[in-house]
Amino acid sequence: MAVRVQAEDFDIGAEVKALAGDTDIGAIVTFTGTVRGTAHGEVITRLSLEHYPGMTEAELARVEAEARARWPLKASLIVHRTGELAPGDNIVLVVAASAHRHAAFEAAAFLMDYLKTRAPFWKKETGHSGPGHWVDARDGDTAALARWEADPRP
């Protein structure tokens, strides 16, 4: 029921605790995306995350609303960082809470699949030398959407 775009880090335990308290919840799934230390065999020293203020929040809210229309979620959260990150840093947190585990797992996976292809963020990786390069969109991310399109109301 919330989306946030922020430069600051997040605390998974605190975010989950803030959502909990509803004793209708029986299952909470979190996804955390982190900065890897290499890409295509090259060492990465910095990851810059650009975004489109305004549209980003609007798209994340649409993605979250779509998940809530598909699964009986008791709580949901998307937090995405922007700015300059280093290997090991958190990038994104998605939380889905439901009475039962399958809804929570599916909704969290759906939130990530949709976020990755719709939310206007762009990653630039920088290594030890050179000006850095913009990360290419992965065909797999678009393919991952197919399962949700084929079965719109699981």
């Binding site: 990755k116 762009w122 290419d136 969109a137």
Partner: protein, 89 residues
């Protein structure tokens, strides 16, 4: 007789870097009716635009902060954005 429309155009990631600016206000003639028309009109503005839109088919667009196809019309639109496929998450 043509009426000019004023739009804010925003650029992100490598589109922004190639064009050399993050945003600008442009006055487009009335025959520029769709996103596709706007892309052609921008490409004629200078070599940095032509270079940015050289592989124009991979560039995505948004109209008033929603994803939009090339056929989207510009009537009543205040803001258009161009950017590469998104890579967040």
């Amino acid at each position: 007789m043509t009426t000019a429309t004023t739009l804010k155009v925003r650029y992100f990631a490598w589109v922004r870097e190639k064009i050399g600016r993050a945003e600008e206000d442009v006055s487009v003639p009335a025959h520029v009716a769709t996103i596709a028309d706007l892309v052609e009109w921008l490409k004629a503005r200078g070599p940095e635009y032509a270079a940015a839109f050289e592989r124009g088919e991979v560039i995505r667009a948004a109209v008033d902060q929603s994803h939009a196809p090339r056929s989207a019309r510009l009537v009543g639109v205040r803001e258009v954005a161009f950017f590469p496929p998104v890579t967040g998450g």
